[in-house]
């Protein structure tokens, strides 16, 4: 939160951070669901283990991109008798995903202009 916003703007997100934020942009999720969604959406290219995932979540929480949330009304709240912990994307997180998506789009444009993606040339 107290990080220099200019630094945030200039630092691209890591692939895993980006995928975690992307899945949370769809809906609030709990740890295991985040893991599975990241695996699925990245076609298995990004597959964080438990320790890595929670360090990423901790970093995103400390940057103000992700926050802990109450379970959605339609979700099964209990897990072995305990309430599940959900995570949600904050407004700052949404802006970070948008910024990163725009950066990736620019990279894609560049790759296309240099004929590195012939299937997309057109």
């Amino acid at each position: 939160m107290d990080q220099d916003p200019r630094a945030e703007r200039s630092n691209p997100l890591s692939a895993t951070d980006f995928h975690v934020l992307m899945v949370l942009a769809e809906e609030d999720l709990y740890g295991y669901a985040i893991m599975k969604a990241v695996e699925r959406e990245s076609a298995g290219a990004v597959s964080p283990e438990i320790g890595s995932l929670y360090r990423i979540l901790a970093r995103l929480v400390s940057k103000g991109f992700v926050d802990e949330a109450d379970a959605p009304a339609d979700a099964s709240v209990e897990h072995r008798g305990r309430p599940r912990r959900y995570y949600r994307l904050t407004e700052a997180g949404r802006l970070a995903v948008i910024r990163e998506s725009q950066r990736l789009r620019d990279v894609l444009e560049l790759a296309r202009a240099r004929s590195l993606l012939p299937e997309l040339a057109g």
Partner: protein
């Protein structure tokens, strides 16, 4: 189910306390979910999952201790940098001729009798021109004594 979870909780101890307090329960929940999933795939899958998770927790736990990711853990990060802190305080005392001696001090308050400097240490410091005219000096507070996460850990 019990023993793998116990083993997992042992590995969790590799993470700093502030991190465990915040994410420990959620990590355990995720571990139980993944364990259940790999049990459906057979013994080999469970073994692979166990090895992968143990390696990951050990690596990430140590990383987290060396470079905390939580804002609340920033003080722990400074604390982990004990060598830098030691050098800083060493240099400070070397310039002053040692830490000031304090009589009847309770937390180094600037008021009343607390935190008063003895004549001996006063002479030693004033001769180097480091004390204000009043001759009183506050004991430098330890930078982490007021930090909750430090006190807890």
């Amino acid at each position: 189910m019990k023993s793998p979870v116990r083993l997992f909780q042992l590995f969790l101890l590799l993470f700093p306390r502030a991190f465990r307090d915040r994410f420990g329960a959620s990590m355990r929940e995720t571990f139980e979910d993944r364990l259940e999933e790999s049990r459906k795939e057979g013994t080999r899958a469970v073994a692979e999952f166990g090895l992968r998770t143990a390696g990951d927790l050990a690596r990430e736990g140590i990383r987290e201790r060396l470079r905390p990711t939580l804002i609340e853990a920033r003080t722990s990060g400074l604390r982990n940098n004990w060598m830098g802190w030691g050098m800083m305080m060493g240099g400070r005392y070397a310039r002053r001729g040692g830490p000031p001696r304090v009589q009847g001090g309770e937390g180094g308050s600037d008021q009343g009798a607390a935190g008063r400097v003895t004549p001996e240490s006063q002479r030693s410091s004033t001769s180097r021109g480091t004390l204000p005219e009043g001759g009183r000096q506050r004991t430098p507070a330890h930078p982490f004594t007021e930090s909750k996460s430090f006190a807890e850990s």
